[in-house]
Subunit: 251 residues, 2 copies
DNA sequence: TCAAAAGTGTTTCGGATACACCCATGA
DNA sequence: TCATGGGTGTATCCGAAACACTTTTGA
């Protein structure tokens, strides 16, 4: 994306390029240090925190807008992305903070926006967070330690997490949030983090293995004090088959 | 709603009144004659079938738009209404059929539309289907015998049904789709219809009663040949409590 | 050698399933 | 009186939950 230096230029370009009233916001989940993280942006002006977002081009599928925004912020293609809700209250107050950036300037950007929320599951280590031109910073934040967010972005995160949890019944996670090879304890901690409850080690393993979607590899020593856990990998084919059969994956 | 006689007038009025690019479509479910029905409209011009829909007023919450549309088509207030997906492909071809109505006339209505899908659960007998000014007919259609629908409305119905099924895990149905008093066999047939599979009579009853959300009333003879089944009623309080506790309602 | 983490198995319990008998009613 | 549908109860099974012992490893 070309750099746009001037806010006015951005506004007039946006008016040509994008559908009015419509934006996309992404809740990008990553997993690191045994905690669930969300990718946030910090505005240059005012230091407000917000979700990575963007607009829908006049001839672009909304799903593609979300994919584009993700690519811009994370550098990643081919990401697991799920639309989960449209936020359509008229007084989301998109304006207030934006006005503080550049005075008045009305127009396109100052109007009411309906935003379509997507959540994404990404592999933490593969992401190189990139601020957009309005932001000084793009970084991972622990979902339990979120700063104050603009508009209703707090609600959007909450809803995204709720939907992520709900989706666990139909689709096991880990495939998108963990590196290709991972250990059973790592997978368990991911589940525990997302569900916000502890699980029995042995029952977790039994259940996971019973799903027949994991492939066990060799040992793993790497620094970890104590007994070296096995490495596993998702078996993509079996995974898809299991989801298709509509197994229950709940904990 | 005032009658608008002229299409051109409708277009120019709409342009003043509504957000551009944005519509709302409702999949209104009803249950009758042991089958699941959807409320459809048939256009005066061309006879195409479509979902009840409408637009979002410039200062109106999207949820309120859906509520308004429902009120207009069914006469009902206070309906169970659930947003389930935003459909945002750029070539939903809203235009083609509309153009056939009134020649060219471009403008607002001819542009690309993103539509936000809601599904509603209503009590069949309470609905008096009301066509809008573009339609000659508004009526219930068996979900397994849908006519060809405009645009992607077929997909919207499919997705709505899928989401309704998915929601069964968290929220028992019946409360909105059945009359206040109903029999266990009726409730069971509702479940069987929505899930599209048969259930064991005795196990169904046991499970339903175990949820502690039903209140049993007295007998019922009314015409029904054979033994008179009991009548039940949802206990609103216990229902809310059960949902809050996150019970599993799945079959 | 010891604490901490990881591998593996057994017992137990409850909910889901399968199944059978009796009762009420109108044709 | 009988076919049909409705009310109720019991045996069984399987997956979930509870729980213990052994092994590996670095400090």
């Amino acid at each position: 994306m070309k750099k746009i230096r001037d806010f006015q230029e951005f506004v007039s370009k946006g008016e040509r390029l994008y559908l009015r009233h419509l934006s996309v916001d992404c809740v990008i989940f990553g997993f690191h240090d045994d905690s669930l993280k969300v990718l946030l942006l910090k505005w240059k002006d005012g230091g407000h925190w917000c979700l990575p977002g963007g607009f829908v081009k006049k001839n672009e599928a909304v799903d593609d807008s979300a994919t584009r925004i993700l690519k811009d912020r994370t550098g990643l293609d081919d990401i697991f992305l799920q639309q989960f809700h449209a936020f359509g209250d008229p007084f989301r107050d998109r304006n207030k903070e934006l006005l503080s950036i550049q005075g008045k300037s009305g127009k396109w950007l100052m109007e009411r926006f309906i935003t379509i929320g997507y959540y994404a599951l990404v592999e933490y280590s593969k992401v190189s967070p990139q601020p957009d031109w309005l932001s000084e910073e793009c970084k991972w934040v622990d979902i339990h330690k979120l700063p104050k967010l603009i508009y209703d972005h707090q609600d959007i995160v909450r809803k995204a997490l709720a939907e992520l949890r709900r989706s666990l019944n139909d689709h096991p996670i880990g495939y998108n949030l963990l590196p290709e090879k991972f250990t059973m304890p790592e997978l368990q901690r991911l589940y525990e983090t997302v569900l916000d409850k502890t699980l029995d080690r042995r029952n977790f393993q039994k259940k996971m293995l019973s799903l027949k979607i994991l492939e066990r590899l060799k040992e793993r020593k790497t620094g970890g004090a104590h007994k070296a856990p096995y490495l596993y990998r998702f078996d993509k084919k079996k995974y898809a088959k299991a989801v298709k059969q509509g197994l229950r994956f709940g904990f």
